[in-house]
Subunit: 298 residues, 2 copies
DNA sequence: GAGTAGATATCGCCATAGCTGATAGTTTCT
DNA sequence: AGAAACTATCAGCTATGGCGATATCTACTC
């Protein structure tokens, strides 16, 4: 004989009966009519196979069987409340996880200000920031809530429910050591730079790809002689006089200490950072809220 | 914003999805059509307020939110199973309580054989036998599953969902010391006894009331000079020669060691023991089964 | 004891939640 | 690019469960 379990509603009804001591009062508590509750309790009795209470003219009283079922019923109710609490906490962002993946450049120079403000408002949300990603193909993109693509990086293979949108537009500046002859000029041309020794970022760098693309526009294929890893290395290399480098203006603002100067290049060279996030219907509360912080305008 | 909790069915659906990895498979597991499950999951998502999974062409995958809800959902399922198990155990009498109240006479001489057999078959049921009840009015009858009334005891004030039915019919015998002149007679008349010294049981005794009733039938109101408490005292008092006593034949059979003899009295005098139990729709599994043991014929 | 107030069970009706089958719209694999 | 696998949506229907009215019962009171 199969035993079908009563619904939570049935158990709530039973508890209301047990705690109020009468079917009518239980009906009031649950905002139902008395016959409705009466019927529910009959259903419950049916499921238990034995009577759980008996009427006494004034109210009802639980049988031994009823008393026995009281404890598990209460535990089920408690667990149900636990669920509600969890929904509540997640809605109010008192609980949750936010997993972000980014390159070192983005993680170090673009994101921190947003993360700090978000964390102040929602300290309970667990922030997982993974920087230093160079090759997206090595990661399962589905493991991340948010990630960033630099212009010049291929955008193929995105999971279908994610979408990429331009997030920040920045300018790429040329940097050179203090005292370099370029300091005389208000702005530089790409053609000027082609004859100079150039310091390049690593191959996966969006900046590098973007600059190469500009060179190709004017028919130049520069040779890569000096290659450094990351923004830091770029700064020190250029300051040391290894050559001319390229850097986003945002990153540069963070390091006024470097002994370098910067100038605009070309038209100038704009560079866009793309934000990849789940499409709207797929966003958790956490993601949705954090995106508001990232795009206060929208 | 009110948070309504999903039903257990919804949670089972969610778990089936999580554990099978696809809506269709979950539908198979739950023996429902695929659209039904799809709709259930949408309802669940609605309740959570954020997506719990996303489709990927082949099956679905849980979001971080989905993973977070997995644990409480599992706990709820476990508790649900616990309930089912409890129903099962109670049905099979692997769990339960049976509370019986009786007079000493019934508890000591009539019930033990039934209790022993029941206990052998259902050792898990907790038997609570309360003997020595003399005055029912002092107890809340509702606290007992079963109790016994001796003929001659008033049956008023029974809770309405209980019913009394004749359980055992026994004969009341007169007892006297070995060597008494009554030993000559094959049977005795009440009138013979009226002139003898009589040993009486305590006032609440059903036997005493029954005998008095018989005396009154023939117009005799015997005086109560010797009163003893309980069957044991009756046996020893009569053996010692204090007078003629009355005892049920069943009780007598248990004490062949007493130095007494017995004879039928009157027509003879029958005495009925009534069993009081909840009416059929109010019987727990335990009560119902034990009654089968008490009335193997019926 | 009879009457009455208070409480529960039953009945008929009705709304609607939820299931089914068909179909359209995706994504993945070959 | 085509086929297979899967999910979402839609229209229609069934039947569960709620409501109001009423019957029935118990307990209290005069």
């Amino acid at each position: 004989m199969a035993i079908s379990t009563p619904s939570l509603e049935l158990l709530e009804t039973f508890l209301a009966l047990a705690e109020s001591g009468s079917v009518s009062k239980a009906a009031q508590i649950l905002h139902r009519s008395q016959p409705a509750i009466s019927e529910r309790l009959q259903r419950l009795t049916e499921l238990a196979g034995e009577p759980l209470y008996y009427g006494m003219g004034r109210g009802v009283r639980l049988t031994a069987a009823g008393e026995a079922y009281l404890a598990p019923a209460r535990r089920l109710r408690d667990l149900k409340r636990e669920w509600s609490d969890m929904v509540q906490r997640r809605r109010q962002l008192q609980e949750g996880v936010l997993k972000i993946a980014a390159t070192n450049t983005v993680a170090n120079y673009f994101l921190p200000q947003y993360l700090v403000r978000f964390r102040q408002d929602y300290p309970e949300v667990e922030l997982q920031l993974r920087g230093g990603i160079t090759d997206w193909s090595q990661y399962s993109l589905l493991d991340w809530d948010l990630f960033f693509l630099e212009e010049g990086t291929p955008m193929t293979g995105l999971p279908p429910h994610y979408e990429a949108s331009p997030w920040l537009e920045d300018e790429i500046l040329a940097i050179f050591p203090r005292g370099h002859a370029f300091a005389e000029k208000p702005k530089l041309d790409l053609a000027d730079l082609a004859s100079e020794p150039l310091v390049w970022r690593e191959e996966q760098s969006g900046i590098r790809q973007r600059i190469l693309q500009e060179f190709r526009k004017i028919g130049i294929e520069p040779s890569i002689r000096i290659e450094v890893n990351g923004v830091e290395a770029m700064g020190t290399a250029v300051a040391a006089g290894l050559g001319i480098g390229f850097i986003t203006s945002t990153a540069l603002c963070h390091r006024p200490d470097w002994a370098i100067e910067s100038r605009r290049v070309g038209d100038p060279i704009h560079w866009t950072l793309y934000l990849v996030a789940p499409k709207i219907p797929y966003r958790s509360h956490t993601i949705a809220r954090f995106l508001e912080y990232l795009n206060p305008a929208k």
